[in-house]
């Protein structure tokens, strides 16, 4: 296939803060190079999952091969990788970066540098990328390309004199982006005659083709029928099919060094492949395997239970199917005294959790209850043993515990100055330690170390509301630190609800307990009897609220003509009750389990 010499290949990622226009730029590049006809084109064409289209965000990195006839008269092969902006999916970004030599750094010219702009630039620099800054959305009246240019230089220390001003929406400047890709980004290097060495960038399950593997060839050539070995797993396959995305899947004869494409090879399941693995020829193996990636580690765990116990097997099957294409999501069976059988699931973050839950409910028609999200604690036992705790319900006897360690993150927040006070207070309240405070033009940049368990619930929501949406946030997990953590239980009508128990820092317990009790008071409807709601540590009650008994609920007139209507109302009530969970005599609406954790202050 490579009638194009390696010097005419460019592999690049598009990175940016969330919503700065990566996917829209990808659309324009595809269009400008004739990848899709007018009729086939839709907005953010690479965001193919229903949930991506609905939320307007990219979750899964995507790749497409473009052919571009440059001003120098030569035709170039451009492999574009569109990446997600949200921090939960940073893992997708890093593996895309590993398959490229350069990045387009998109910055919304009306907003400027944001937290994920920084985070992604650093990732790109770590991957030794050449970076071309692109100032997007210059069609907006609020766009200030010159100011943002200066900001990029000042904050990131990147030369922005050649930054390309564009509007991905109108198509303005797209030709300049294409030229910059060809001229500024380096071609890949690689030895065509060396033994095959290819990076396994990603893999997923396709209903027609089975497991599809995205590869980047480093050295050598990959041909149809080749006998290959995955060096990490040791598995051996014969390549059935080989091709590229333009963006439609198009078969080719072979892939040479520097090229990006897919293969299929009778691989049974996605779990048989390891992202970051090195693919080589079985009979002529490369001596040096690639370093590989650290697998994506779930950082937030929660229980997912079917509302209707009869759906348990369906839930298991649905999770299995989702997991096929999302190895970063993990699950194992769990049982709860209150909720019956379900699964303890691990996620990359809260958005990931929300998305998986939504997909399970929508694509598989399941009604689910999600329990309080928890981070992974390391419990140091007096015996010297160390236990990983994913579920507060499994907390061992406190008498046997030496210390509890919790994960900490380093968070970078960029915000307009006027919201700084509120944000510092938020971080301080969440046990944060300030590491740095700087100004980036008119914006403040604060770096905080924070315990992850203070962040998973509603930190992001709070940040958004304090800053009216103007602050941006990014984080990486740094280390585990010992903390004075205690298990807080919630008792509803004197019965502990295991699904609501959580580990909290002792100094924060009372406040959280009070907030939870207040929230539950709002969320649990009045019953025919009074319901005490309590938060407790060990045997000690630290907060309490009471839901008073229902005082009045009766239909004044009900005659022969009213009974049908009343019955239909009763049917609705019965349906509503099905969406509740019975704890002793109290019915708790399923939304309450997550909603109870969101604090208002």
């Amino acid at each position: 296939m490579s009638e194009h010499p390696i010097s005419n290949i460019r592999n690049f990622s598009i990175v940016a803060h969330i919503d700065h226009g990566k996917s829209t730029l990808a659309d324009r590049l595809i269009q400008a190079t004739g990848g899709l006809s007018e009729r086939e084109m839709v907005d953010q064409v690479l965001d193919s999952m229903e949930i991506e289209r609905e939320r307007g965000i990219t979750i899964k990195a995507q790749t497409v091969r473009l052919e571009y006839k440059a001003k120098d008269g030569q035709t170039y092969v451009l492999n574009l990788m569109d990446t997600p902006g949200h921090v939960d999916f940073a893992y997708e970004v890093s593996r895309s970066l590993a398959a490229c030599e350069g990045s387009l750094l998109v910055v919304d010219a009306s907003q400027g540098v944001e937290a994920q702009t920084l985070a992604n630039v650093y990732h790109a620099l770590d991957a030794n990328h050449e970076i071309v800054p692109v100032l997007n959305k210059i069609d907006l009246p609020a766009a200030e390309p010159d100011r943002i240019k200066a900001q990029i230089e000042e904050v990131i220390g990147l030369d922005a004199s050649d930054a390309v001003p564009i509007s991905a929406k109108t198509g303005l400047g797209i030709d300049l982006v294409l030229e910059a890709i060809v001229q500024k980004l380096p071609p890949p290097k690689g030895d065509e005659t060396a033994p095959l060495k290819a990076l396994l960038v990603d893999s997923w399950y396709d209903a027609y083709l089975g497991v599809v593997v995205l590869v980047r060839i480093i050295d050598g050539t990959l041909k149809k029928g080749a006998d290959i070995t995955m060096m990490g797993t040791g598995a051996r396959y014969e390549v059935d099919r080989i091709g590229v995305f333009r963006p439609k899947m198009t078969d080719v004869e072979k892939l040479g060094p520097g090229e990006v494409g897919y293969i299929t090879a009778q691989i049974k399941q996605v779990a048989d492949t390891r992202v970051g693995d090195t693919i080589t020829e079985t009979r002529r193996q490369t001596p040096a395997a690639l370093p590989g990636f650290k697998p994506a580690q779930p950082v937030v765990f929660c229980g997912l239970f079917p509302v209707d116990a009869a759906d348990f097997e369906d839930l298991r099957a649905a999770m299995g199917k989702l997991r096929l294409n999302d190895a970063s999501f993990s699950y194992e069976m769990e049982s709860s005294a209150a909720l019956g059988f379900g699964f303890r699931c691990g996620f990359l973050g809260l958005l990931h959790l929300e998305i998986i839950q939504e997909r399970l409910e929508r694509e598989f028609n399941l009604d689910l209850i999600a329990t309080a999200p928890s981070v992974v604690y390391r419990i140091h036992m007096k015996t010297g043993e160390e236990i990983e705790l994913h579920n507060p319900a499994d907390m061992p006897d406190v008498m046997k515990i030496e210390e509890i360690h919790e994960p900490w993150i380093r968070a970078t927040i960029l915000t307009p100055d006027e919201y700084l006070g509120g944000i510092l207070k938020l971080c301080q309240d969440r046990r944060g330690a300030q590491i740095d405070l700087n100004y980036v033009g008119k914006r403040a940049m604060v770096v905080y170390d924070l315990p992850l368990n203070e962040v998973v619930f509603d930190f992001y929501d709070r940040l958004k509301s304090i800053s009216k949406g103007y602050a941006s946030f990014d984080y990486t997990i740094t280390d585990y630190r010992a903390g004075d953590l205690v298990k807080m239980s919630i008792l509803v009508n004197a019965e502990p609800v295991d699904a609501l128990s959580m580990l909290v820092h002792r100094t924060r317990a009372e406040m959280r307990g009070r907030a939870m009790c207040e929230k539950l008071k709002e969320l649990i409807p009045q019953h025919l009897f009074q319901i005490p709601i309590q938060a407790a540590i060990g045997g000690k009650i630290i907060a309490r609220e009471t839901i008073s008994a229902l005082r009045k609920d009766v239909t004044a007139k009900c005659y022969g003509g009213d009974v049908s209507r009343k019955r239909k109302l009763l049917d609705k009530q019965k349906e509503g009750k099905k969406r509740m969970r019975q704890f002793g005599r109290v019915e708790i609406p399923q939304e309450a389990f997550i909603a109870a954790l969101k604090m208002d202050s």
């Binding site: 019953h527 025919l528 009897f529 229902l550 005082r551 009045k552 609920d553 009766v554 239909t555 004044a556 007139k557 009900c558 005659y559 022969g560 003509g561 009974v563 049908s564 009343k566 019955r567 009763l570 049917d571 009530q573 019965k574 009750k577 005599r585």
Partner: protein
């Protein structure tokens, strides 16, 4: 009259409900199927249609003996007595009528309508129910009524002189009403009542003018606690004056209950004739719920074309029958027979739920195996039913 304790568990009687859908004006709280027409209504044409619909329901439920007839509305007292007589004749032409049949007509207490009461008696009506609603003019105006308190009391007096049995309705839990003021008003009303009173808490029904006013903040009705206090007042005052509640909103001298409404609450069988009427008929294919076309003119056209105005027929599942039985039966102070619930619903009421409710003193079991709601339970009856039916 059958004493309540002697009623047979499975024979709650057969009632015929006739709906007259017209009113002189629309009251702002009312969500009944009532319509205001400016042109005079062609009563003869309606009589002919009623006749056909009665015959149609008699075909579905033949051979019954009618124990009660109720002419409701709307405002049936807008009908000429001859019209009422013709409708009653049509009932008698299609079913046997019990010698002690109760025939109630709803009337609005204006002077015009009072003047017709004698005519209704001659036509076969033996009980009237008057919509008095309030005992003072200020509240009557607020309720959008066309009559004054004095006019209403005059109508009550006429009713008392014409009929052995009469009742009237009041609406309470009106804006700003205090328990003290309501108790005084109620005592005054009882002074004019004989054997029966219907006392309804004002309900803001969806789609009514009152709903719009409330949502706009222009109408403030008592909150749950205040409404409950007014309910207690109602029970106490009526009981003290020999008119204990036998249903949530109905109070009577023992033995003087409205037998027609008891058919509903005891989940008996009833025909429903006229626009927007509902029926429950026990047929060979099961218990049917029928309802008819709501808009009077459309109903009329439908009956004339097809012989009936029925738009919906539902064969009630055991679960639905059980639900309806509880919804209706638990409204009665006498309670429900659990064995009959089991026969209808094909399942038993969960004894643990009953125990829990009994522990809260919201329901109690009677020595003869009935389940009934207590005095503390009635203000939260709907939640109790939802709990038992779940």
């Amino acid at each position: 009259m059958t004493p309540m304790s002697a009623q047979l568990p499975f024979d709650a009687g057969f009632g015929v409900y006739i709906h007259w859908p017209f009113c002189a004006s629309k009251c702002p709280y009312c969500d009944f199927n009532s319509h205001v027409r400016h042109a005079p209504v062609d009563e003869a044409r309606y009589v002919a249609a009623f006749r056909r619909e009665i015959a149609h329901q008699a075909e579905l439920a033949p051979g019954r003996t009618v124990s009660t007839i109720f002419l409701g509305g709307g405002t049936p007292s807008l009908m000429r007595p001859g019209t009422v007589g013709a409708i009653l004749d049509a009932v008698a032409a299609n079913w046997a009528v019990a010698p002690d049949v109760e025939v109630t007509l709803e009337a609005n207490p204006t002077s015009v309508e009072a003047a017709r009461l004698r005519g209704y008696r001659a036509a076969g009506v033996n009980r009237v129910s008057l919509g008095v609603q309030a005992m003072n003019d200020r509240d009557l105006v607020a309720l959008g009524r066309l009559h004054s308190a004095e006019e209403a009391m005059a109508a009550v007096k006429v009713a008392a002189s014409v009929f052995d049995r009469y009742s009237f309705d009041l609406i309470y839990a009106r804006p700003d009403q205090t328990p003290g003021a309501w108790a005084a008003e109620l005592k005054e009303a009882i002074g004019h009542a004989a054997e029966h009173l219907s006392l309804y808490q004002l309900t803001i029904e969806p789609g009514t003018m009152f709903e719009r006013l409330r949502d706009a903040g222009k109408l403030v009705v008592p909150d749950a606690d205040a409404a409950r206090a007014l309910y207690e007042t109602t029970r106490e005052v009526c009981e003290a004056h020999g008119l204990p509640a036998y249903e949530i909103s109905n109070h009577a001298r023992p033995g003087a209950e409205c037998r027609h409404n008891l058919v509903y609450w005891r989940y008996g069988e009833y025909a429903g004739v006229g626009p927007g009427a509902h029926a429950r008929l026990a047929t060979a294919t099961g218990r049917l719920a029928l309802s008819t076309e709501l808009v009077p003119e459309n109903w009329l056209a439908k009956v004339e074309a097809e012989g009936h105005g029925v738009t919906e027929v539902e064969r009630l599942s055991p679960e639905s029958q059980g639900d309806e039985f509880l919804l209706m039966g638990l409204r009665l102070v006498e309670g429900v027979d659990q064995a009959r619930y089991e026969a209808l619903a094909g399942r038993t009421l969960d004894p643990r739920r009953i125990d829990d409710l009994a522990r809260e003193r919201l329901v109690e079991r009677t020595p003869d195996g009935k389940l009934r709601v207590t005095r503390e339970g009635f203000p939260v009856l709907d939640a109790i039913v939802a709990d038992l039916a779940a």
